[in-house]
């Protein structure tokens, strides 16, 4: 049965971006204690309150148990063997592209990241995070004109301490959960965005992440604040070079939308997923949460998850303001030995709040793909509504798809709808399309794209092309 084999080998494609860049590092010793945190904070010239925030988180983390309720099995990261900070050495302030390490630039070029000016004309501002330190931020001036602040979180701590102090930890508290606490203690860098009142951010904002140092945990911290009547769309994409050892990635993303504000946050995640036997690959344990703080505000998460050995991620929305809207659109693709346990939480607190969840899981190889979602309607949330749709697609005979919906309504006027389907890409489907002249590769691509269409159309145009490219990379070489 060559086609079945072909299907099973699908998504089993060798990682394309598996190269490393040879740059010098300025490293901290491995492991974690208060000393290291103080040192890290000092190194970053942080104010006292920031150091305290980190220490408080660390003390909380030390008391916490590593969670294990996920539908995934993996060897726990060795937290004593993680390097909690690294940065390219002798980093100068970058004025132009010519100033950055040519090897780093080469890496970005291979990834097709549009750092060059001409590519920037497409309207993407890039805050590139190479390892733990932001190297380059573009289009800053144009954003500044509009009054939008977009910079690294380190810079924000220096320049806009009041904003950071007010909002950091307000959505994801320092001791929210094991990995969020760890991040709060040791976060290295990340992005900060502030959109003032009555402002439509003039461009899509984008950040690329990349792990490039063995054992260097990545602890990104992102904070986006959208003031009244404002709008911002933020894109995040990541891909990592091939390494043989598990690498921990524990990011925290916080979104705050005030009255009538709208935040759209899109992710394409393509971390190294390990080899075909499940060796290596990134642990992607992320806490992403947004709060619709003001009335009539809206937060929308869109994600295309294709990478990582293990993904545990539940971008959530707290619907506090009346009439606020939360959305979650997700495509999660797992192949080989990948494990993904991902979904969302919609917490309805305000009146007439509305949430939509559309999740598409595609599993192949010997992978395991779980949707886990919680919809909670509190007592005061009159007329809250939720619609959830969770579809799973299986490719081959050895993968798994699971759905874990949790529903809790404390208000009799709440309305919750949940739909779920499971389907299999069968030989018959492929044969049908092949009979119509379409090659096997294109047939699989058509079937999968058709399945994900509802979600992919939510991605901003700039990302749609990349999303298709990524799906194609995953689907390539399926003819066995």
């Amino acid at each position: 049965m060559s086609e079945t084999k072909a299907l099973e080998s699908m998504i089993g494609e060798e990682y394309k971006y598996g190269f490393t860049t040879d740059v010098e590092y300025e490293d901290f010793p491995k492991g974690l204690n208060e000393e290291i945190i103080r040192f890290l904070s000092k190194k970053k010239k942080e104010p006292e309150w920031m150091t305290e925030f980190r220490l408080k988180a660390y003390r909380g983390w030390k008391e916490m148990e590593e969670p294990s309720w996920f539908n995934a099995t993996y060897e726990s990261p060795d937290f004593d063997n993680v390097q909690y900070y690294s940065s390219p050495k002798d980093r100068p302030e970058v004025e132009s592209l010519d100033d950055i390490d040519p090897k780093i630039k080469e890496t970005y070029d291979k990834l097709g990241i549009p750092l060059e000016e001409q590519k920037m004309l497409s309207g993407v501002a890039v805050d590139a995070v190479f390892d733990s330190v932001s190297i380059f931020t573009t289009f800053k001036e144009k954003l500044a004109e509009a009054g939008v602040i977009f910079c690294s979180i380190s810079e924000a701590i220096q320049k806009y301490p009041e904003l950071v102090k007010k909002y950091m930890g307000s959505v994801v508290p320092a001791r929210d959960n094991f990995y969020a606490a760890l991040n709060s203690a040791v976060f290295s860098d990340g992005s900060f965005c502030y959109v003032p009142k009555d402002t439509i951010c003039p461009m899509e904002l984008s950040t690329y992440f990349r792990i490039n140092n063995m054992d260097s945990g990545q602890f990104e911290r992102t904070l986006i604040i959208c003031e009244e009547n404002s709008h911002v769309s933020y894109l995040e994409g990541c891909t990592a070079p091939m390494y043989d050892k598990n690498q921990l990635h524990a990011a925290v993303v916080e979104l705050v939308a005030l009255e009538n504000a709208e935040i759209k946050y899109s992710t394409i995640q393509n971390w190294y997923s390990g080899d075909e036997n499940g060796k290596g690959g990134i642990f992607n344990f992320v806490t992403k949460r947004g709060i619709c703080k003001g009335d009539n505000s809206k937060i929308s998460w869109t994600q295309l998850e294709t990478g990582s050995a293990v993904t545990l991620k539940y971008p959530s929305v707290i619907l506090k303001g009346d009439n606020s809207i939360g959305e979650f659109f997700s495509v999660a693709v797992t192949g080989q030995m990948q494990q993904a346990d991902t979904g969302t939480k919609m917490i309805h607190l305000g009146k007439n709040t509305k949430s939509t969840i559309i999740s598409k899981g595609i599993s192949a190889g010997r992978s395991n793909n779980s949707y886990r979602g919680e919809v909670k309607i509190s007592k005061k949330a009159d007329n809250a509504r939720n619609y959830s749709q969770c579809d799973s697609m299986l490719i081959g005979q050895t993968c798994g798809a699971h759905t874990f919906p949790y529903i809790e309504s404390s208000n009799p006027t709440g309305k919750i709808e949940h739909e779920a389907t499971t389907s299999r890409v069968g030989e018959d489907q492929i044969f049908y399309l092949q009979q119509r002249g379409i090659s096997e590769d294109d047939a699989i691509s058509l079937i999968v794209n058709g399945f994900c269409k509802e979600v992919l159309k939510e991605l901003p145009m700039e990302f749609a092309v990349e999303a298709n490219k990524l799906l194609d990379i995953k689907l390539e070489g399926s003819v066995g």
């Binding site: 049965m1 060559s2 086609e3 389907s423 069968g426 030989e427 018959d428 489907q429 044969f431 049908y432 399309l433 092949q434 009979q435 119509r436 002249g437 379409i438 090659s439 096997e440 294109d442 058509l446 079937i447 794209n449 058709g450 399945f451 994900c452 269409k453 509802e454």
Partner: protein
């Protein structure tokens, strides 16, 4: 055009032989009907000609315009002009009829050295094909076979045939599940599409569709072989006497041609 020689076929990975020596020759301009009881191998024959990976040819050959096609993938056979109208058309959610058809049309056009059509040209091209099977244009924006009624699915197959203009069409029980009005529409479509340069092979249980599409040859299949061939009158005879009549015939005469 098509020459099937002593074809023996098993299901891949299993010991059961489904086709046990099928011989069939189809020439340009002809319409053939293959009839036979359930499990006689009619549908298998259609799928094997189209190259379904589930089946393995263990003996014999299939020649198309003089050349063996056994080593060709289904899409390559399609590019040669071989079309199969499915007994059970497959649903492809999220992919519109229009997308699939344009992709199909252009892939086949490219491989046959015909001009590819851009979306606007394709839109023009497709309009009268819709009329042929009396389908509304809204049908184009619906996902392939998803949520279609049985009759719509079958009509969609003939619509695809009209768009792709194959040289050799196997229609696998296209008449099953159609009400009498739909049957007339489908039969009328097939008649209009058929000309002197192409051939049609109808696989069917019932005589009914042959009232509308007059076959040049009728073959009866039983237990993996064609046991009797004749003209249209054979179908009528079958209708009258049932397949049992031929079961005896098979034992007495052995391999019939």
């Amino acid at each position: 055009m098509l020459e099937i020689k002593d074809l023996h076929v098993t299901v891949e990975g299993e010991d059961i032989t489904i086709l046990k020596g099928v011989n069939l020759t189809v020439n340009k301009g002809e319409i053939h009907a293959i009839m036979g009881p359930n499990g006689s191998g009619k549908s298998t024959l259609s799928k094997v000609v189209a190259g379904h990976p589930e089946y393995e040819v263990i003996q014999g050959d299939i020649l198309y315009n003089g050349e063996s096609i056994l080593e060709l993938d289904p899409d390559e056979r399609s590019h040669l002009g071989i079309f199969l109208a499915f007994q059970y058309p497959v649903e492809v959610p999220g992919v519109t009829n229009n997308t699939l058809l344009r992709e199909s049309y252009n892939t086949i056009a490219k491989s046959r050295g015909r001009e590819e059509l851009d979306p606007l040209e394709f839109d023009d091209y497709i309009q009268d094909k819709l009329e042929l099977v009396e389908m509304s244009p809204t049908f184009l924006s619906r996902s392939v076979n998803t949520g279609f009624s049985g009759g719509e699915k079958k009509r969609n197959e003939i619509f695809q045939m009209a768009v792709l203009q194959p040289s050799l069409s196997f229609l696998d029980e296209t008449d099953s599940g159609l009400d009498i009005d739909a049957l007339k529409i489908v039969a009328n479509g097939i008649n209009q599409l058929h000309g002197k340069d192409d051939a049609v092979v109808l696989v069917t249980h019932y005589q009914r569709i042959l009232d509308y599409i007059i076959p040049d040859f009728v073959h009866v299949m039983m237990d993996g072989k064609i046991i009797k061939s004749g003209d249209k009158s054979l179908a009528l005879e079958l209708e009258k006497q049932g397949y049992e009549w031929l079961e005896n015939y098979a034992t007495v005469n052995g391999e019939a041609k």
